[in-house]
């Protein structure tokens, strides 16, 4: 079963919820941090990283010996990533979308695809308080790179089918988030009871309804703000899975890299109860076909 944790608005507490859920369940599971632009789950889970590899995107390399400057590659490139000048062919790898059209369609077969590094993928492991193994995967996109969904796809390729998987999603509602959550069996939405939190929560709920993933809401800092989120969830019959009051202590511990359930042991039971609400509502794995 794959449970993803998303939000809409950033900074509401996705990683807080995802990491504490993983630690509270006290079972073997896989934790996947898909926020490749800014992975931070490792700060709270503290996995021992045992493998690291670079991830690349294919970009064209022109063989000047075979190229006749016909200009066909430039014509087929939809992204202006190839410019044929009077003397040579210039490629612009940062504009390349790796579609492969230029290499496929060059009449002289003068183009090969070579990898351009965009980030790294790391795997590791940690143990829960009672010694159960949590297998950990995250990706880290290099600065200035924009191919976030591609790296997320590589990270998700490490998912072990038939495992319980908890996935920390990136913030927002655009391509990186869709790429992360699209085949989840359940999605936990973490929000805060403020106008921004409410606005962006409605966007992500809209998305989840379209891709038909069961979902529920965690209201973080529930006692500071307004009642719009609560009312909305009641109207729409969206389960509120947990309410977390604001606590300066929790915030302080967070800033020191201490997970919520370690800062306040009472939350362990709350996360276990949340999982008991989620489990029957999650999609059955074979129903995703």
């Amino acid at each position: 079963m794959i449970i993803s944790v998303a939000s809409g608005k950033g900074g509401t507490g996705k990683t807080t919820i995802a990491t504490s859920l993983a630690l509270s369940l006290d079972r073997e599971l896989q934790f996947i941090d898909c926020d490749v632009e800014e992975p931070n789950a490792h700060i709270f889970l503290k996995p021992e990283i045992n493998a690291s590899e670079t991830v690349g995107l294919p970009v064209p390399r022109i063989d000047p010996g075979r190229c006749v400057l016909c200009g066909h590659c430039q014509e087929v490139c939809a992204y202006n990533a190839i410019a044929v000048t009077s003397l040579q062919v210039l490629t612009f790898p940062e504009l390349c979308h790796s579609c492969g059209a230029c290499a496929l369609l060059c009449p002289q077969q003068a183009i090969e695809e070579i990898p351009r590094e965009i980030g790294t993928l790391e795997t590791g492991a940690l143990r829960t308080f009672s010694g159960r193994a949590i297998r950990f995967v995250h990706g880290r996109l290099n600065p200035k790179e924009v191919a976030t969904p591609h790296l997320i796809r590589q990270v998700k390729a490490r998912i072990e089918p038939d495992s319980l998987v908890i996935m920390d999603a990136p913030p927002g509602t655009t391509c990186p988030v869709v790429q992360t959550i699209k085949d989840s069996h359940f999605c936990i939405l973490v929000t805060e009871p403020t106008p921004f939190g409410f606005h962006d929560l409605k966007l992500i709920i809209e998305l989840l309804k379209q891709i038909r993933i069961p979902h529920g809401v965690v209201i973080n800092r529930c006692d500071i703000g307004d009642r719009q989120v609560e009312s909305f969830c009641e109207e729409q019959q969206i389960p509120v899975l947990m309410r977390i009051p604001f606590s300066l202590d929790i915030a302080r511990m967070y800033s020191r890299g201490v997970a919520l359930i370690e800062a306040d042991r009472q939350y362990r039971r709350k996360f276990q109860e949340m999982f008991e609400i989620i489990e029957p509502r999650a999609l059955q794995p074979d129903s995703l076909q």
């Binding site: 202006n80 003397l87 940062e94 976030t148």
Partner: protein, 122 residues
């Protein structure tokens, strides 16, 4: 000699447009006769690679020098690869700029002076 000046409008009375890739007009000017052809820039609204496409128009128009305010790395590379001279930091009325160019008051640029304006891939 044929030069290109990026411009805000269609004739020599207008001012230099400080942008290259997404400028309003490319004025192709013969420095001897001062004849001026105005090309409306087709790349203003393009998603990415405006600098590259605009750069390629320079060699297509047999221009020997490009005068503009600022230029990013993609346009710079495209134009420099055709051995066309590039002058940056150019501003003011186009007529005056052409005169100053003819008097050798401008130095060619060895490198782009702005970063790339990159469009997100997603």
């Amino acid at each position: 000699m044929k030069i290109c000046v990026t411009a805000q409008d269609k004739d020599l009375n207008t001012s230099v447009d400080p942008r290259f890739g997404r400028c309003g007009y490319f004025l192709i000017i013969d420095t001897e006769s001062l004849s001026c052809e105005a090309i409306e820039n087709p790349n203003r609204e393009t998603g990415g690679g405006a600098g590259i496409r605009s750069g390629q128009m320079m060699s297509a128009n047999q221009v020997e020098a490009v005068l503009t305010g600022h230029m990013g790395p993609n346009a710079f590379r495209t134009i420099a690869s055709e051995n066309i001279q590039i002058f940056l930091g150019i501003a003011g009325p186009v007529r005056e700029v052409v005169e100053k160019f003819k008097q050798g008051q401008y130095q060619p640029a060895g490198a782009p002076d702005t970063g790339s304006h990159q469009t997100p891939l997603s």
